[in-house]
């Protein structure tokens, strides 16, 4: 892709900042796929035909505001009643709720909490299909992997037990001797190790995935904002219009940070239980990551 095409797409991004994300993405992808299919000279012609990105964005905003047909009275009379709009699934509150449910649902209500988060995620229009598939498959894959490891460990331990019995031929019940302890490989985890560490590992993995989903959504809400690159009329118009979604994200990120730090430290000090503090401290880390991403994409 030539520099002029990149430049045009950047101006389009800046102009589309005040257009709702889902529509902005469609326009951006539609224009980009067209320009990328052409050689430099043809792309130049096409960009002239497409016109000023500000006009494209203004037309999109106008078309969204007016709705279909005269007076914007909803679907035309010959059309069946439209289903409810899905735009709510792109709102900051919905997105953050989804990210938190994926990250911490498992900690609050085992299994069901996580499933709720995944269902919320699949319903939303913010994430792409491959991201949804990844967020669903990775924890399931991890569970499957841990199950396989558990099965192998059990098989190995069973072998050792048979070996120990057959060598000493002790049929009556007895306390394990020192020799028997020494014969057990200390690097093979015991059942109870796996039992409590496997959910912990999957839980932490889910926190990472939840944070990743939040970061993606968070960046999407902010990415079109690049006011310093915006050209033409309405300086900073995009940034201003997008500030609503952005500031909601910032407020939620700060709340996560504060609740996580205070709750984590509080429970660690009061109950002397690092395990209860861990998810709360992870919440604080998630909030911190979101704030850093916001700071970086603003610069």
């Amino acid at each position: 892709m030539t520099n002029t095409v990149n430049d045009y797409l950047e101006r389009l991004d800046a102009a589309l900042a005040h257009v709702p994300y889902v529509t902005a993405r469609e326009i951006r992808e539609g224009v980009a796929e067209e320009l990328r299919s052409l050689d430099a000279a043809a792309a130049d012609d096409r960009m002239r035909e497409l016109g000023d990105p500000q006009h494209i964005a203004a037309a999109a905003a106008g078309s969204l505001r007016e709705g279909p047909a005269a007076g914007g009275a909803g679907a035309p009379s010959w059309a069946p009643a439209p289903p409810p709009r899905s735009a709510g699934t792109a709102s900051p509150i919905y997105v953050v709720l989804t990210g938190l449910a994926v990250a911490f649902g498992m900690w609050l209500v085992p299994v069901v909490g996580w499933i709720a988060g995944i269902v919320l995620m699949w319903t939303s229009v913010v994430w792409r299909r491959w991201e949804k598939i990844l967020a669903t498959a990775v924890p399931l894959g991890a569970v499957a992997l841990l199950a396989v490891i558990g099965a192998i460990v059990n098989a190995v331990r069973e072998q050792q037990r048979i070996a120990a019995y057959s060598s000493e031929v002790q049929l009556e019940f007895h306390a394990p001797s020192v020799d028997e302890y020494a014969a057990t490989n200390p690097f093979i985890p015991a059942d109870y190790d796996l039992l409590w560490s496997a959910p912990l590992a999957v839980g932490i993995l889910n926190v990472a995935i939840g944070v990743w989903l939040l970061v993606i959504a968070f960046r999407r809400a902010l990415v079109p904002v690049s006011p310093r690159r915006a050209t033409g009329s309405g300086p900073g118009a995009g940034g201003r219009a997008n500030a609503g979604g952005g500031s909601a994200f910032t407020a939620i990120a700060i709340a996560m940070l504060v609740v996580g730090v205070l709750g984590g430290l509080g429970s660690a000090l009061l109950f002397a239980r690092p395990i209860t503090a861990a998810p709360l401290l992870l919440l604080a880390v998630a909030g911190l990551v979101m704030l850093v991403v916001r700071a970086v994409s603003r610069r």
């Binding site: 889902v22 469609e26 992808e29 539609g30 796929e33 067209e34 990328r36 497409l50 964005a57 439209p82």
Partner: protein, 108 residues
């Protein structure tokens, strides 16, 4: 005719026009934009995507990705069975409507 009346007319027919185009063959964004802009039905590609969004929400069109012969993977739009029904319903209203309007506006 005032500019406002023209704009209202275009807005009223642009959705069924898109359905009509897609009834012939699946098309990608730029193709649709070019056809509709040439006919004076939309101002720019920016107008097109919100309309496509509404049509998809209503389930009358569907999008799918397909690699094109010359360029990258493109997003194509096609008519759904629901869209075919909607287009048929529009055709039934459109012909008597235009005949009636013609009779009235063209004079003796």
């Amino acid at each position: 005719m005032t500019a406002e009346a023209g704009a209202q007319l275009r807005k009223g027919v642009v959705e069924p026009c898109i359905l009509g185009l897609l009834a012939r063959e699946p098309m990608y964004g730029w193709q649709l934009s070019e056809a509709l802009t040439a006919a004076g039905l939309i101002a720019s590609i920016g107008t097109l995507y919100p309309i496509l969004g509404r049509l998809r929400e209503r389930g009358v069109i569907a999008a799918f990705e397909q690699p094109s012969a010359t360029g990258p993977v493109r997003k194509y739009y096609r008519l759904s069975p629901e869209g075919e029904r909607e287009l048929a319903a529009f055709r039934e209203q459109w012909r008597p409507f235009t005949r009636a309007v013609e009779r009235m506006v063209e004079g003796p």
